[in-house]
């Protein structure tokens, strides 16, 4: 018992220290490894020393077998996934944790017999089941949307469906806790189904711009579900680990909402875009964007003093991070000052661009965050938008009817020249037109971002 508790204490400390170290670039990798070691110790100690009513852990071959299966699959998936697909991978693993928590609640409820539960136990089991299930189905939908096999479902009716589903989940939890049996003997299965459905309807209408928030929120949900498991077993390491992730995840979610100037409630019950977006797109059909040739673009950059690159999801899709770095080096070879302006929600997850560019060996000091980048833009000769759209949309500042109005953006239009690399004139993920493309300073360079950058690099060499 002593060894078990001391292992749990070590586990809890490594989680706290690990999270802390993950908050700084120099120690992040070690932090992750410490937390993993702590997890290993806690798991091993559970198998070896856990006792309930005098019985130690049984079925060990089965447990080890299950862990072997999970390890092989998890390892292979994590090693094979492309850097661009990281966000949906995190979402998937998060869903697995949620499902695990939900299953624990189900089994515990049945193990104790259906009657004679005190309300504390019922509350923990029902909340653990509901939150775990929502996290599972929601994460799978988020994975599908980021992976492209599930499309956005928009419409105001979704809001009503969502509110009804949420009310149903809450009503069942409260009803069953206050008066067990209110919803009949199969209440727990009904709750399971409703919660799974709510997870689906909760994430389906949410557009790409909000996906980071949703994944972070679901992450903290799973943390809470794990903590309910800890409460159930009086297990300190599950409790600390779960609550830490629950609270840290919630704060991260709130920070992201603030970055987009939206409230969490608005993200949860409202869907991004909606009616206004479609109307905005049609009215501007007459405008014509100016194109720029490769050679002109190369010359413009080569003779600039300061070039700022604004990357977006298009960079990830085109896998253009390496060639983007080559382009940066080619310009620096000519004495041009090059930096990257990173919008906090560019890409599909906060920090997505940082991870991609770091993969291509772009040094951190080159990555400038939005608040620091904006004041420098009036002194910038050329700003190059690579596959970004909504994060450089002036409508966020000057069009109160726009769905993204109020979201802080990179003020690309303040730069002396703007080159936009884009495959077509299609609107971005939020589904709204971007006036930046028709701005007098803006020139469009159509084509795949990777090809365009590659061609620019060769043009630069020929100059």
């Amino acid at each position: 018992m002593f060894l078990l508790e001391i292992s749990y204490l070590i586990g809890s400390i490594t989680f706290i220290v690990g999270l802390k170290m993950l908050s700084s670039p120099d120690s992040a990798r070690k932090g992750n490894i410490y937390a993993a070691i702590g997890m290993g110790i806690a798991i091993l100690a559970t198998i070896l020393f856990h006792e309930k009513d005098g019985h130690s852990i049984g079925n060990i071959p089965w447990i080890l077998g299950a862990m072997a299966i999970g390890t092989v699959i998890g390892w292979l998936m994590a090693m094979k996934v492309k850097m661009t697909a990281m966000p949906q991978m995190v979402s998937f693993f998060n869903g697995m944790g949620g499902a695990c928590a939900a299953i624990i609640a189900l089994v515990e409820f049945h193990g104790h017999g259906s009657a004679s539960h005190d309300w504390g136990f019922l509350l923990i089991v029902f909340l653990g089941l509901a939150i775990g299930s929502v996290s599972f189905s929601g994460s799978i939908i988020a994975h599908g949307k980021l992976d492209g096999w599930i499309n956005d479902t928009r419409g105001s009716w979704m809001k009503i469906v969502n509110l009804i589903m949420l009310a149903a989940v809450l009503a069942m939890v409260v009803g069953e806790v206050l008066a067990p049996g209110t919803f009949g003997p199969n209440a727990i299965w009904i709750l399971l189904v409703i919660s799974l459905l709510y997870g689906i309807t909760f994430v389906l209408p949410i557009g790409g711009a909000d996906m980071p928030v949703v994944i972070s929120l679901l992450n903290s949900f799973t943390g809470m579900a794990a903590a309910f498991g800890g409460f159930l077993y009086g297990n300190a390491v599950m409790l600390t680990g779960g609550i830490l992730v629950g609270s840290a995840g919630t704060i991260l979610t709130v920070l992201m909402c603030q970055a987009m100037n939206r409230s969490l409630l608005n993200v949860i019950i409202g869907s991004f875009g909606g009616g206004g977006a479609a109307a905005g797109g049609g009215a501007d059909g007459e405008q014509v964007a100016k194109e720029i040739s490769l050679t002109d673009a190369a010359i413009l950059c080569a003779y600039a003093n300061k070039v700022v690159i604004v990357p977006g999801y298009g960079l990830a899709v085109a896998q253009a991070q390496h060639v983007c770095h080559e382009f940066e080096k080619a310009l620096e070879g000519r004495g041009v000052d090059v930096s990257f302006a990173i919008h906090p929600v560019a890409g599909r997850m906060p920090g997505h661009m940082n991870v991609l560019l770091a993969e291509a060996d772009v040094p951190y000091p080159k990555l400038v965050e939005m608040e620091d980048a904006n004041p420098q833009l009036p002194n910038t000769d050329v700003l190059i938008v690579v596959g970004a759209n909504d994060v450089v949309n002036p409508a966020a500042e000057d069009d109160p009817s726009s769905p993204i109005y109020g979201m802080p953006v990179i003020q690309a239009w303040n730069a002396k020249n703007v080159i936009v690399m884009k495959r077509s004139m299609k609107p971005g993920y939020a589904g709204i037109q971007n006036q930046l493309f028709f701005h007098p300073k803006t020139k469009m360079l159509f084509g795949d971002a990777k090809d365009s950058l590659q061609n620019l690099v060769s043009e630069l060499k020929n100059l």
């Binding site: 856990h50 447990i63 699959i73 995190v90 944790g97 089994v107 840290a248 951190y364």
Partner: protein, 102 residues
């Protein structure tokens, strides 16, 4: 009201852990640069894989003839392991890219 008081007294220590952990979680990540948001989220994702301990307990104390508990427990251990192993490996792969190049 009595049951509320009993619940509180019985679970006093855990309630303290919860409250303190909430503040600790907020404090620990409050100074994170945006550059580390994705790896941090991924690392936190791996840490909540600690739920696997619950799955091991379910499986380890399931009676030999309780097939519902055994099969669900087995599934839970597989899923929990996926969360832990996949979570830490993905985080490590992301952070490998932040390594200082010589």
């Amino acid at each position: 009201m009595d049951s509320l008081a009993t619940f509180f007294l019985e679970n006093q220590h855990m309630i303290y852990i919860v409250i303190l952990s909430v503040f600790l979680g907020i404090e620990v990540i409050s100074n994170v640069p945006a550059i580390l948001h994705t790896p941090l989220m991924s690392g936190a994702n791996a840490i909540h894989g600690v739920v696997i301990i619950g799955a091991i307990i379910v499986m380890g104390h399931a009676a030999q003839d309780d097939y519902l508990a055994l099969s669900l427990g087995f599934l839970a251990v597989v899923l929990g392991t996926l969360n832990v192993v996949g979570g830490f490996v993905v985080t490590n792969r992301m952070l490998e890219m932040f390594k200082k190049k010589k």
